[in-house]
Amino acid sequence: MDKVTQTSLSVSLATGLYGISFGALSSAAGLDLTSTMLLSLLMFSGASQFALVGVFATGGTALAAIISAWLMGIRNSFYAIRLRSEIRPTGLRRFLAAQLTIDESNAVHAAQSTLAEAKKGFWLTGVGIYVCWNLATLFGAVAGSAIGSVEAWGLDAAAAAAFLGLLWPMLKGKLPLAIAAMGIGVALTPIFGSGAAILLTALVAFIPQRSKS
């Protein structure tokens, strides 16, 4: 197995299994199995899915749930903009690429050193997470808390480690940006919640960076 395949599969497992949390949370929030599965199959964007379910869990309206999920998805537009010129999907493949455009597939793409590996990484991670995420959602929704928390298995730490591994090769010249973004994201989370904090963190990317010689 080559390096990019290994990376894609391990990211797919580490973050895809988080679908167990989503499935369990979604049923606990009162969504039926069909709605829970439709979210993972159609919406397929963790942050938006957790946002929508979170609004329902706290007794919010359908409109509030829709708007939260929608706002949470903005970042995927920027991922798509950087991916389009690299993977150049045409025709129906554009719709497939769009559906698979999420944090992880974009990050695996960005972390590769050659164009061919990057392209492979995007598709493998996108499809891999899609499969893992949906199976895990089903499992979580049906079995609920019977299987124990993802935390007990260390999956929360595994996801953080996977994100760190993906960021690692991108840090050259961007360390100040990464540190600022991390600090702001963590600082704003207790105030606005993690979803809104991530949205606000994107504003850091507007700060122009001095070019280094």
Binding site: A14, S45, A80, A181, V186, A205
Partner: protein
């Protein structure tokens, strides 16, 4: 409920599709640079939030040690998959011990 889910899903998909369908002339070098920087910024924020918060609150627990271990292993050029397994194993083991 199901209608809400479908409407919200279509709206979320519209963001993804927008990036692929927007005419090339709007994808200026500045927009592209911003998109690269957003990738780094959000990934870094995700690491911080995933490591240091739980349900919107600051929580310092075994995840910190697991991520530090991951950083050390990455610096030693250990392959990605072992880094993830090691981080999960350390967190799971420490939690099983009651930390």
């Amino acid at each position: 409920m199901t209608i809400t889910v479908i409407v919200a899903s279509l709206l979320v998909f519209s963001w993804k599709l927008l990036g692929y369908l927007v005419p090339e002339r709007y994808v200026t070098p500045a927009v592209k640079r911003f998109s690269e920087r957003v990738t780094v910024a959000l990934l870094a924020a995700l690491i911080g939030i995933q490591t240091l918060t739980s349900s919107g609150e600051l929580v310092f627990d075994v995840r910190i040690l697991a991520v530090i271990l991951a950083g050390v292993l990455l610096a030693l050029r250990v392959p990605f998959i072992y880094v993830i397994i090691a981080a999960a194993a350390l967190a799971a083991a420490l939690r099983a011990l009651g930390f």
